[in-house]
């Protein structure tokens, strides 16, 4: 039986971003069903039972996160949608926002109902100009049809959704930096605890969920937790959007159940390698912050627990494919420059460490490297990891440590040859 498309069910339809097309294909039926007789608590329990895990990077169970909200209601609660999709190699939320905003919006309304909040924020990265315009339009359509605002569909439930545009800062995808940014400040991550579920936006209880996570909620509400949990693998349930880019013939977003083999995704769905004469050298399965897999270890299943067992992570499922022409020192230098540029500068190990990575990698790549440099990179990576307020430390230490460990001889080669063996063809 062919796989039923869920998250990408509508994206190929003409004017898929409009409410008319969404309604014509069963849109907002889950919301109608829930508002007719499901309590917020029952919906929350359904999402919990589905074992839906967050699609933003950490893979934390969404229903459990929602249940961390304090029971008292002396302060307003907020939902913040994390549409700050900035992890290099990741472009799946963009697809949903631009092509099926109402699926996302229906998920937002259902999640807001489940956690009993009345104001939701849609924090979208500033560079997504088109996405912000599309989503504003979708919100306006939803108000007009009575899916947002006061007394939604006569249920007595009220909800407002507000778009907030970032302005160019990778770190604002980190949930507490996102909250700072939403409060109109520099996006500096906060110390945890307290966690946002207790002290979040404006000091109020706040849930932050990724766009794709929320796009699953209408399906769970409509078809139930048991159905959802039957897709994918145990503890790794549901459909998933996988991105592939780099040296691949058909870069793009592919929907598959969690647990699809990486090589099946690459070869059968994405058309295999870009150049038939250049074999796979390595793949980052989860966005640039996750540990790299050399080709010999790419025979893995793409889900949270399988990739953890393989020593890396699903992350944001932003797969980056590199062929045999790729210089790993050059590739890592490219990423190190990204992280050095994006470090918020708050914690010394990250602020200084990212600078060291760039300096050492640049001298290696230009033939000025010293024999001790590969070990120096690993040493600095160890001192950054676990020593910062937010996971940015790991996000840079993991690629650095794993590229050097997996491709050690290539790093040493740069030193002994006093040049990049890949010459002009390499990534610079």
């Amino acid at each position: 039986m062919a796989q039923e498309l869920l998250l990408t069910r509508n994206i190929h339809r003409e004017r898929s971003e409009t409410i008319d097309v969404y309604l014509r294909h069963g849109g907002y039926e889950a919301l109608r069903k829930v508002l007719k007789g499901t309590t917020p608590e029952a919906l929350l329990n359904e999402v919990k039972a589905s074992e839906l895990r967050g699609r933003g990077g950490a893979g934390f169970p969404a229903g459990m996160k929602w249940s961390f909200l304090p029971k008292t209601k002396d302060k307003p609660r907020y939902l913040c949608v994390n549409a700050d999709e900035s992890e290099p190699g990741t472009f799946k939320d963009r697809l949903l926002i631009e092509k099926d905003p109402h699926l996302v919006l229906e998920g937002i309304i259902l999640a807001s109902y489940a956690i009993e909040c009345h104001t939701a924020f849609f924090y979208i990265r500033g560079e997504f100009h088109r996405g912000a315009r599309t989503f504003e339009k979708a919100i306006a359509e939803a108000y007009q049809k009575g899916f947002l605002g006061k007394n939604i569909l006569g249920s007595g439930y009220d909800l407002d959704v507000l778009v907030y545009r970032g302005a160019g800062a990778y770190i604002c995808g980190e949930e507490t930096a996102l909250l700072e940014s939403l409060e109109g400040k520099r996006g500096l991550p906060r110390l945890k605890p307290p966690f946002p579920a207790v002290v979040g936006l404006y000091g109020c209880p706040t849930i932050i969920n990724n766009v794709e996570t929320l796009a699953n909620v209408p399906y769970i509400a409509e078809r139930g937790a048991a159905w959802f949990a039957s897709i994918g693998r145990p503890k790794n349930t549901g459909p998933k959007l996988f991105c592939l880019s780099g040296h691949v013939r058909k870069p793009g977003v592919y929907e598959a159940p969690l647990g699809i083999p990486l090589l099946e995704l690459l070869n059968d769905r994405a058309g295999g390698m870009l150049h038939p004469d250049r074999p796979l050298k390595a793949c980052v399965p989860g966005g640039s912050s996750m540990k790299i897999l050399p080709a010999s270890r790419c025979d893995v299943l793409l889900d949270f627990d399988s990739l953890a067992a393989a020593g890396t992570s699903l992350g944001s499922a932003g797969g980056m494919v590199m062929d045999s022409s790729t210089c790993m020192v050059g590739a890592l230098l490219n990423l190190a420059e990204f992280y050095a540029h994006e470090s918020c500068g708050q914690c010394t190990p990250c602020r200084e460490g990212t600078g060291w990575f760039v300096q050492v990698l640049r001298r290696l790549e230009t033939g000025q490297g010293r024999p001790e440099d590969p070990d120096l990179l690993i040493d600095v990576a160890r001192k950054v990891e676990g020593n910062t307020i937010c996971p940015f430390g790991e996000a840079v230490a993991w690629p650095v440590g794993s590229y050097v460990a997996e491709f050690r001889s290539e790093f040493d080669d740069h030193v002994t040859r006093k040049a990049c063996p890949f010459g002009a063809a390499s990534v610079r």
Binding site: P76, E85, S86, E87, P88, G89, T90, F91, D93, R94, T119, R125, G126, E127, F128, H129, R130, L162, Y164, R165, G166, A167, G168, A169, Y170, S181, L182, E183, G184, K185, R186, G187, Y202, C243, L244, S245, G246, H247, P251, G252, V253, S288, G318, M320, M322, T326, A331, N334, L335, E337, F338, H341, E342, C344, V427, R428
Partner: protein, 163 residues
């Protein structure tokens, strides 16, 4: 500051007023207000920062700190057509450096510079979240997919025609 000396048009001033009460706390209006300033002016001047600070009731230094944190806010004028080329890994693997070099030699400017006639500026940017269209770019707020050297030539021609 008297109304006659504000560094934005009355229309932008009115739109900023409207945004002040859009969010539960006024402080949240800062990024939207700065976006509105830049939308009209193309960049955010010191005078504009002071003006926005006055609107929100915060210190100009606080606004300057925020402006400098976010890469999209320009602290000096950019070209009428601001070309932003993605430099992060997936785009680099698909030739974004060749695109940048080509544009730089064709326009006679490097990254971070503006052509003498003010028509074009070039800038490296980090991952735009469009790696399936690598090498990708943006011109002002428009996405430009698959910007290889030939596409870059066509883009420059199109933008020149738009003057």
């Amino acid at each position: 500051m008297s109304a006659t000396t504000i560094p934005v048009s009355p229309e932008t001033d009115r739109r900023i007023d409207a945004v002040l009460d859009r969010y539960p706390r006024r402080s949240s209006a800062l990024l939207p207000a700065l976006h509105l300033v830049q939308e009209e002016k193309g960049w955010v001047s010191t005078e504009a920062m002071e003006y926005v600070a006055g609107k929100l009731g915060v210190a100009p230094a606080f606004v300057a700190g925020v402006v400098s944190f976010y890469t999209m806010f320009h602290r000096r004028p950019v070209g009428k057509h601001h070309l932003q080329i993605c430099r992060t890994l997936s785009c680099m693997l698909r030739g974004s450096r060749d695109t940048m070099n080509h544009l730089a030699s064709r326009l006679g400017i490097g990254p971070g510079e503006v052509t003498r006639d003010g028509q074009f500026s070039l800038e490296w940017v980090e991952c735009l979240g469009a790696c399936d269209t690598a090498p990708c770019a943006q011109v002002n707020d428009e996405d430009v997919p698959l910007l290889d050297q030939a596409a870059a030539d066509a883009l420059v021609e199109r933008l020149r025609g738009k003057r």
